[in-house]
């Protein structure tokens, strides 16, 4: 089995007035729990869009288990994706179970749906309308949807934005279990450096380029690196304010 789950080489995304990503290169092993940290505008969502095949105009290569994603979309079957903010109409008439079932091509496996809902502690709300749930509960449903087809990799784009602390803790414990007990590779972008420090075994610091990629402890125990990253983030933040 190919050890590297994901390999990204010289990934560059350019828009007319800005370079969103500049020669980003790193690899992720199966079983890694990678936290990607970076300020707003750092390119985290752009990176995920490229990895998920949503954004196709980029330079460089992205490989999933050795396969270049430009050549085939079969790799998407190995991925579960939880977006930053699930965008849907609040009155969308779909139950929690119907939302999870959407991900299945063979949608008759009710036991599988119940199982993933139990994993995220949402099995008792299976027949509730999705819009009637809190944001934290909705995000757990989206994790269940991302898990129902047995992915090897879970990609989460700032999944606890707007979620209260208690719900975030539940969310993080679910991710920890998925990684430790099921060896699912987790790639998760976050502003919350404390959470990343606690959960992730690998860290990538992104601000259009890759500042650091490696063992989480190496980053957080290196005060100079943390300071360098924080200063770069502050400059990025101030630059954004000057533009606006």
């Amino acid at each position: 089995m190919y050890l590297k789950a994901i390999e990204i080489n010289d990934l560059t995304v350019e828009y007319p007035e800005v370079k969103a990503l500049d020669k980003v290169s790193f690899s992720i092993n199966q079983g890694d729990f990678l936290g990607i940290i970076g300020p707003n505008g750092a390119g985290k969502s752009t990176l995920f869009s490229c990895m998920l095949g949503i954004l196709t105009k980029y330079k460089g290569t992205i490989r999933f288990f050795g396969e270049d994603i430009r050549k085939s979309r079969n790799y998407l079957k190995l991925i579960g994706y939880v977006p930053q903010k699930p965008v849907f109409e609040n009155n969308f008439p779909a139950t929690v179970k119907e939302i999870v079932r959407m991900q299945l091509t063979n949608n008759s496996d009710r036991q599988l749906i119940d199982k993933v809902l139990q994993q995220v502690w949402m099995h008792e709300l299976g027949n509730r309308r999705i819009g009637d749930l809190s944001i934290g509960q909705q995000q757990r449903v989206f994790i269940a949807k991302a898990l129902v087809h047995n992915p090897k990799i879970l990609i989460l784009d700032e999944p606890v934005t707007g979620v209260d602390i208690q719900s975030s803790e539940i969310f993080y414990s679910i991710l920890r279990d998925l990684n430790e007990k099921q060896n699912i590779t987790i790639i998760w972008s976050s502003h919350d450096m404390d959470a990343v420090h606690k959960l992730a075994n690998k860290v990538a610091c992104l601000n259009r380029t890759l500042f650091f990629h490696g063992i989480s402890a190496e980053f957080f125990e290196n005060e100079d690196l943390v300071k360098q990253y924080s200063e770069a983030s502050m400059q990025q933040h101030m630059h954004s304010h000057e533009i606006h």
Binding site: I54, K77, E89, A94, Q103
Partner: protein, 267 residues
């Protein structure tokens, strides 16, 4: 009368099912736009001597697909594309009708519906189209639902979202033109929208909501046709008024706090 009710029920089912996807995609007025563009198609048919519904199908479907493509390529907003489609269809229709000799009773039947005059051949066509469209929706149910719920997530799961969007617009075009005989060009959007927004107030899940919408629409059509026959009034308007009454009663019940759904219609 029998043909009218059978055709009416089939059209009600189609409008509910396809209309639910349109309403949830915020394409509610797109049905209206397609209907108005069909006016241009009807005028073409009358001018050249072809059965107007065939030319209405052709013009409406081509217009709807073109405007959808333009929306994708030029990033035009939904309401702007509705305005373009709607106004161009009416404008073309008015010019062609003025060339062909002005408004006739046939034109009025397309504008306001003429279900009581539906022929056996038309009824068979309506039933065949209903069967085909329902089969297509059942076969592609997951793709249609997922892309309606969230296009980005649907794309990531491998669904060809753009093709599905063209399909739903195509199906809507077929349903709209087919429904002209029931409620006419001017009221077709009512049948697309009102039973669905009423059902959304009640239904928890998508299938439940779709069945409720079908129930409301069929009830409106049957009661509307029968009432119009008894009272000697226009069936199209009566059908829409019955549908509105159901909607109004549901709003009243909701205001009293009796409905279990509390977040419906809040945007």
């Amino acid at each position: 009368m029998q043909r009218a009710i059978i055709s009416g029920i089939a059209i009600a089912i189609l409008c509910s099912v396809v209309g639910l996807f349109m309403v949830l995609r915020r394409y509610s007025l797109f049905g209206d736009a397609i209907a108005h563009s069909s006016f241009g198609g009807i005028a073409v048919g009358m001018l050249v001597g072809i059965y107007p519904l065939w030319t209405a199908y052709a013009v409406s479907l081509v217009s709807a697909l073109i405007i959808t493509r333009i929306r994708y390529r030029l990033k035009i907003s939904g309401d702007a594309s509705v305005a373009v489609l709607l106004s161009s269809g009416i404008a073309i229709g008015l010019v062609l009708i003025s060339i062909s000799g002005g408004f006739t009773i046939d034109i009025f039947s397309f504008l306001f519906g003429s279900i009581l005059l539906v022929s056996t051949n038309d009824t068979i066509l309506i039933l065949v189209l209903t069967g085909i469209i329902l089969v297509v929706i059942l076969l592609l149910y997951r793709q249609l639902l997922y892309s309606t719920f969230n296009e980005e997530q649907a794309k990531v799961s491998g669904i060809p979202v753009e093709k599905i969007n063209y399909l739903i617009v195509f199906l809507a075009g077929v349903v709209v033109v087919t429904s002209i005989q029931l409620v006419g060009i001017l009221l077709i959007s009512a049948l697309f929208v009102i039973p669905n927004i009423t059902a959304i107030m009640y239904g928890k899940g998508f299938k439940q909501t779709a069945l409720l919408s079908i129930g409301f629409a069929v009830f409106s059509v049957v009661v509307g046709i029968l009432a119009s026959y008894v009272l000697d009034i226009t069936p199209s308007g009566t059908i829409v008024l019955v549908s509105l009454a159901i909607f109004g009663i549901s709003i009243g019940i909701k205001s009293l706090g009796k409905l279990p759904i509390t977040k419906s219609l809040k945007h």
